[in-house]
C-alpha cells in the first residue's frame, strides 16, 4: 500500500542523510522525498512517499521517530489529506504543435511560464495522477525536459502537524 509520511525534523546538516540512510539501510522503498524548511526556519518538513505492508509502515514510522533529530512523524494517508506536486515541462512548440500545446495547457489548468519561438515551459500543479495524465496526454516526442518536485502533503481540516 502507498503511504504518505510527513516528518518534522530539526533543520540540521545531516538530517536528510540520516533519513535517506535509514531507508536504504533497512531496505524500505522510497518513491519520492521532498524537504524544505517550515515557517519556523529551525525545522524542516519532509514528505516521503513509500509503500509496504502494515508492519513495514509501522516500522518505518517507528524508525523515523527514533532518529534523534525527528520532532514528529505522521502517516498523512491514514486520514483525509491533500497531496500536491509541481511539474515544469519544457516542450517543443512549433507549427501546429504550438497551438495544441496551448490547448492542452488550458484543459489541464496548467500555465505557460516561459516562451520562445520554438519552446514553451509549462507549469502544472496537482496530485501525482494529474501530472501523469498530462504527460500521457501529450506527444512524447515533443517533451524536451520534465522536472517534478516530488509530492508534498498536508492534512485536511483541523489536523495540524507542528512541533
Amino acid at each position: 500500500m502507498r503511504h504518505l509520511i510527513s516528518v518534522l525534523i530539526e533543520n540540521e546538516s545531516g538530517a536528510l542523510s540520516r533519513v535517506a540512510g535509514l531507508f536504504s539501510a533497512r531496505g524500505y522503498n522510497i518513491e519520492s522525498l521532498t524537504v524544505a524548511p517550515t515557517e519556523d526556519p529551525s525545522l524542516s518538513r519532509m514528505t516521503i512517499i513509500t509503500s509496504g505492508s502494515d508492519e513495514i509502515i509501522e516500522q518505518i514510522t517507528k524508525q523515523l521517530n527514533k532518529l534523534i533529530e525527528t520532532v514528529k512523524v505522521v502517516d498523512l494517508s491514514e486520514a483525509p489529506h491533500l497531496e500536491r506536486e509541481l511539474m515544469l515541462l519544457k516542450v517543443r512548440a512549433t507549427g501546429k504543435d504550438r497551438e495544441e500545446m496551448k490547448r492542452m495547457t488550458d484543459i489541464f489548468r496548467a500555465r505557460i511560464v516561459d516562451v520562445t519561438d520554438t519552446t514553451y515551459v509549462i507549469e502544472l500543479t496537482g496530485n501525482q495522477g494529474k501530472l501523469d495524465a498530462f504527460i500521457q496526454a501529450i506527444d512524447p516526442a515533443l517533451i524536451l525536459e520534465a522536472v517534478r518536485s516530488g509530492v508534498c502533503g498536508i492534512g485536511r481540516g483541523e489536523r495540524v502537524l507542528r512541533a
Binding site: 540520516r18 539501510a25 508492519e55 517507528k62 521517530n65 527514533k66 534523534i68
Partner: protein
C-alpha cells in the same frame, strides 16, 4: 575566563565525572592531548589500537553501568574505531567517542588524514555531531552524554576539528539538556500494565524471557522479584545472563541457537510470554514463522518502540524503562494481594522438569583424554566461586562460557552478542578491570579471537592489569569448523590456522605469566595458581582443548525452537 576547545573538552569530561578515557593520540587531537597532560583528574589509558580503545570504553560501560569514553584522532584513528563503535551499537552500550577532525577550513579538500567520520559512523551510532564552532562544544558534549545514557542507550560520536579544539571561548557547562526532538518514554502505560498483570496471573504456562535491556536498565532485582512472586520460569538471553541468578531453580538457562532444551521448549510452549528488554532476535527464536505456529499471548516491554512487533507481533506492547515498568507490575501485584506463587503452575513445572531431566548440558571429562572445554569453564566457575567478571570473544568458547559459567549477578558477563565481534574479549576485560578494580576479571577466548586484539597485552602491562586469560585453544576457527562439519559436508575451508604462536611464550614476551595446560589434571592447579601465586599478574593460560568438540544443543539457522540437535547422535 576563556578556555581553548581542548580545555573545554577536558572540563566537560570532568563535569560528567569521567574517570577514564581510553584513547590514542594523533595530529588532529594534539590540542586535546595537551590539555589532558595538564590535569590529573581523568586518567588516560593508552591502548595499542583504536578498536581496542572503543572496546575498552564499551567494556567499562558494561561493567560499571556508566558511560564509557574513547578518544581517537582523525582519518585512520576514526576508521579503526568503527568496529568498536558498531559493536557498542549492536548491544546498545552507552559510549561517547571523541574524534579529531581536520581543521574546518580543510574539510572536504581530501586533506591529510581526512575522512567523513560523521558519514562513516552514521549507521552505527545512536547519534553523532560535527562541532563547527567552539561556542557549541560544551553543549554538544553535554548532549552526547545525555543521548548515550538515556532511552535505549548507545554510542554517540563527537567529531572535533583541530581549529575548534584550538579556538578560545568562555566555558559554560549546561546543567540540563532539553531537546524538543528527543524525549524517551520512561513510565509505561498503566492500562496496558494492568492488562499484562492480569494475563500473567491467568496464565497456565507463563515464562519470563529477559534480554539485555534488563541489564542496561539495572532491573535485575525487579525481574527477580517478579519471577519469584509469580513462580514462573525465567530464561535470559546471551545478553542478559546474570539478570536472574543462574543457580536458582526457576532459571532455565538461555534460549536460542545454543540455548538449553528446557528454555527453548518452555519458550515455545508457553501460553503467556513476558518479554522484557528482549527482541526476539534471530539467534533466539530462529524462524519467526515457526515461532508463530504456536498460539500464545506476548507481552513485550521495551524502551525502544521499534523493537516491539518488529519480528514477532506483541499482543500487549508496553513502551517504557523496564525497571519502572517491572516496579509497576510488582506494585499492582501488591495491591491485588498476590504474594505467593500459585498451585496452578504445578503441571507446567512438571513438564519443564521433564525437559530439564534430559540434562542437555551434561558432558564427560575422561581423566586421560583431551581437555573438554566444558570442563574448563566448569572448573573456572568453581575456582572463582562464580564471582568473576567474565568476558569472552566470539565462537565456540563464547557459547561454552555462556552455558557453563553460571552467572548469579548482572554486569558480570561481557560479550559481543549483537555484532559478534571477535577481538572484544581482552579490551572488554581491561575496561571491566578499570570499572571494578577489586573484582577478578577473566577473559575466555579462542586462539583466533585473541589474535585480533592481542597487542593489548602491552597496555595490560603498562597499567598492571592482573587479568586472567583462558585461551580455549582448539587450533581451529572452531565455530566455523562446526558449521562446516554439520552443514558443508566436512569441507574445512580456511578454518584451520597453521603456525599459531606459542601463546604462553608470547605472553611472557609482553612481560606477563604464560602457562600452557595440556592435561585435565593440570587444569585446576593452574587456574588456582593464577588467582593465588600470580594474583597480581596477568596470567595467560593456553589450554589445549579437544579440537573436535562441538557446541550443543544447537538449532540450525532459520529453524524453530523445537528443532534442536542435542548431540552428535541426533544428526
Amino acid at each position: 575566563m576563556l578556555l581553548t576547545g581542548a580545555e573545554i573538552v577536558v572540563q566537560c569530561l570532568q563535569r560528567e565525572n569521567v574517570k577514564y578515557v581510553f584513547g590514542y593520540p594523533g595530529g588532529a587531537v594534539l590540542h586535546i592531548y595537551d590539555a589532558f597532560f595538564q590535569q590529573d583528574q581523568i586518567r588516560h589509558v593508552l591502548v595499542r589500537h583504536e578498536q581496542a580503545a572503543v572496546h575498552a570504553a564499551d567494556g567499562y560501560a558494561r561493567a560499571s553501568g556508566e558511560v564509557g569514553v574513547a578518544l581517537v584522532t582523525s582519518g585512520p584513528g576514526a576508521t579503526n574505531a568503527v568496529t568498536g563503535i558498531a559493536t557498542a551499537y549492536g548491544d546498545s552500550i552507552p559510549v561517547v567517542i571523541l574524534s579529531g577532525q581536520v581543521p574546518t577550513a580543510m574539510i572536504g579538500q581530501d586533506a591529510f588524514q581526512e575522512v567523513d567520520t560523521v558519514g562513516i559512523t552514521r549507521p552505527c551510532v545512536k547519534h553523532n555531531f560535527l562541532v563547527k564552532d567552539v561556542a557549541e562544544l560544551a553543549e554538544t558534549i553535554k548532549k552526547a552524554f545525555h543521548i548515550a545514557r538515556t532511552g535505549r542507550p548507545g554510542p554517540v560520536l563527537v567529531d572535533i576539528p583541530k581549529d575548534v579544539s584550538a579556538a578560545k571561548c568562555a566555558f559554560h557547562y549546561p546543567e540540563t539538556v532539553s531537546m524538543r526532538s528527543y524525549n524517551p518514554v520512561v513510565k509505561g502505560h498503566q492500562g496496558q500494565i494492568r492488562k499484562a498483570v492480569k494475563a500473567l496471573r491467568e496464565a497456565k504456562r507463563p515464562i519470563l524471557y529477559a534480554g539485555g535491556g534488563v541489564i542496561l536498565a539495572d532491573a535485575a532485582d525487579e525481574l527477580t522479584a517478579l519471577a519469584r512472586r509469580l513462580g514462573a520460569p525465567v530464561t535470559t538471553t546471551l545478553m542478559a545472563l546474570g539478570a536472574y541468578p543462574a543457580s536458582d531453580r526457576q532459571f532455565l538457562g538461555m534460549p536460542g541457537m545454543h540455548g538449553t532444551y528446557e528454555a527453548n521448549l518452555a519458550l515455545h510452549h508457553a501460553d503467556v510470554v513476558l518479554a522484557v528488554g528482549a527482541r526476539f532476535d534471530d539467534r533466539v527464536i530462529g524462524s519467526p514463522e515457526h515461532f508463530a505456529s504456536e498460539p500464545r499471548t506476548i507481552i513485550h516491554i521495551d524502551i525502544d518502540p521499534s523493537s516491539i512487533s518488529k519480528r514477532v507481533k506483541a499482543d500487549l506492547p508496553i513502551v517504557g524503562d523496564v525497571r519502572h515498568v517491572l516496579a509497576d507490575f510488582l506494585r499492582i501485584l501488591d495491591e491485588e494481594g498476590l504474594t505467593a506463587p500459585r498451585e496452578t503452575l504445578a503441571p507446567w513445572w512438571e513438564r519443564i522438569e521433564q525437559w530439564r531431566a534430559r540434562r542437555c548440558l551434561a558432558y564427560e571429562q575422561p581423566a586421560d583424554g583431551p581437555i573438554k572445554p566444558q570442563y574448563v569453564i566448569d572448573t573456572l566457575w568453581k575456582v572463582t566461586k562464580g564471582e568473576a567478571i567474565v568476558t569472552s570473544d566470539v565462537g565456540q568458547h563464547q557459547m561454552w562460557a555462556a552455558q557453563y559459567y553460571r552467572f548469579d549477578h548482572p554486569r558480570r558477563w561481557l560479550n559481543s552478542g549483537g555484532l559478534g565481534t571477535m577481538g572484544v574479549g581482552l579490551p572488554y576485560a581491561m575496561g571491566a578491570r578499570f570499572a571494578r578494580p577489586d573484582a577478578p576479571v577473566v577473559c575466555v577466548t579462542g586462539e583466533a579471537s585473541i589474535q585480533m586484539c592481542i597487542q593489548e597485552l602491552s597496555t595490560c602491562k603498562q597499567f598492571r592489569l592482573p587479568l586472567k586469560i583462558v585461551n580455549l585453544n582448539n587450533g581451529y576457527l572452531g565455530m566455523v569448523r562446526q558449521w562446516q562439519e554439520l552443514f558443508h559436508g566436512g569441507r574445512y575451508s580456511e578454518s584451520y590456522m597453521d603456525s599459531l604462536p606459542d601463546f604462553a611464550a608470547l605472553a611472557r614476551a609482553y612481560g606477563h605469566v604464560g602457562i600452557r595446560v595440556d592435561r585435565p589434571a593440570d587444569l585446576q592447579p593452574a587456574l588456582e595458581r593464577a588467582f593465588t601465586e600470580h594474583a597480581n599478574e596477568l596470567v595467560f593460560l593456553d589450554v589445549r582443548i579437544d579440537p573436535r568438540e562441538n557446541v550443543y544443543p544447537m538449532i540450525q539457522g532459520g529453524k524453530g525452537l523445537t528443532e534442536m540437535i542435542l548431540s552428535a547422535n541426533d544428526l
